[in-house]
Symmetry: C2
Subunit: 261 residues, 2 copies
């Protein structure tokens, strides 16, 4: 078969609606294999499982084989899929469709984006796709966008180590106002904790947060989706702050002189 092999995963779990829509749309582009967590794995960041064994089950949806379910994280699924479960190396990894935005500082907590990052680490062009809502499950247009961009990536390739992070507003197709190439915003959640007491009189804390946008500009991922536009950001994992590396030279760091201290 000539159709390119596409590995699909997510962090909402293999039974989530988003991955179902994604697989269906990508069936038009290539041969799709799903390897995804059995359970929801939101906010796991780029976790991998070292201290426990990974197990795999074949998952059915709607009466047929849907994909491989793994008791691990999204990054585990990509590793295990590529190294053990698929017969060939995929030509593309697509992660999603996540229910909830993956924009701005948020990205670093994202299991969805980490799965695509894992794809790039293994040397496969990759993309993360998110629907920027926690409730309105209008996946069908986002799935079309994913298929369109998957074709473009297969045609053009991506630089080594770089993935596309795509965020689609949860709107019907005719209310989407365009597609914008963006950079990662610096916005973050302003967070706090609820301090509560359980029925056994023990204190516990629950993380809570209110969104606060700190960045501004025409090309910021989270601002673009608020304007009903699709955001496409190329991201990579060279975390070096090169500008500050120059400035740091002026600190004249050296080995600490422990004889003097």
């Amino acid at each position: 078969m000539d159709k390119p092999l596409i590995l699909v995963t997510n962090d909402d779990g293999i039974y989530a609606p988003g991955i179902w829509h994604l697989k269906k749309a990508l069936n038009e582009v290539g041969q799709v294999e799903v390897v995804a967590p059995m359970a929801e794995k939101s906010a796991v960041g780029h976790a991998i499982t070292l201290s426990d064994p990974l197990r795999v089950v074949e998952v059915e949806r709607e009466g047929g084989f849907f994909g491989y379910g793994v008791n691990g994280t999204p990054a585990d699924c990509v590793k295990l899929g590529v190294h053990c479960l698929l017969n060939d190396k995929p030509r593309l990894v697509v992660s999603g469709i996540n229910l909830g935005p993956n924009t701005a500082t948020n990205i670093i907590y994202s299991g969805t984006v980490s799965a695509a990052a894992e794809g790039t680490i293994i040397g496969i062009p990759s993309m993360a796709v998110s629907l920027t809502t926690f409730s309105r499950k209008e996946f069908s247009f986002a799935a079309k966008v994913a298929a369109y961009l998957a074709k473009k990536i297969l045609e053009n390739g991506l630089p080594e180590g770089t993935l596309l992070n795509v965020n689609v507003p949860p709107l019907p197709e005719d209310e989407i106002d365009g597609l914008v190439l963006t950079r990662q915003g610096k916005g973050r959640y302003e967070e706090s904790f609820d301090k509560r007491v359980d029925p056994n009189h023990r204190t516990y804390y629950w993380l809570t947060g209110k969104r606060m946008v700190l960045d501004n500009g025409d090309d910021i991922d989270d601002l673009v989706v608020m304007q009903n536009k699709i955001s496409v950001t190329p991201i990579h994992y060279d975390l070096t702050n090169y500008d500050f590396l120059e400035e740091l030279k002026t600190w004249n760091l050296k080995l600490p002189d422990t004889k003097q201290s």
Copy 2:
């Protein structure tokens, strides 16, 4: 008291030797408060706990109060410490001393580095310190290096969103050959899985990997530590690949025309 407040955490857990040495050394620099995971949390990446409550216990070591133990990730510890447990906002967050290197592509899986990243997100200068070995527990010089750099950061500050990622070879002080400002290498593990069968005849997979260095240069973090030098890399979390963002414009991406497809 005029001594600057320093929040110390790690990902090897509050009972690990590295955090004990780190606290002891930083006591010379400021007022140290420890908030760390109760259990080892290696390779958790930048995970945060959303779906479970966090609990806190006061942990003793060597007959006295040592710090707050949390049933969460390193990033949880920094959030909870700053927002709930400490009386003032820390002037510095230090994460470590990790047993094992945090260099090259590895960084993105690191709970140690993620804790320092969480500090920068909250707006506090931060540093991650690792000993580049999995076995030789020679923490005392690494702890001195941490104290030296902590003083430098308190004097000079760090740019918003930027932390120092420090890796120290596990050698006696007189065998350390210098301190080098570095960039994050592109080296990664060449990974595979052991496929095994459990006593109940069920298949499981265990991640394994052999180190492979892909990068080269005089200023690469993992190569510098192999030369018995301390590596100091400034890292940040703007993941945008700005170079490719320009090239991506030539793709002429637009809204997919679903009427045609």
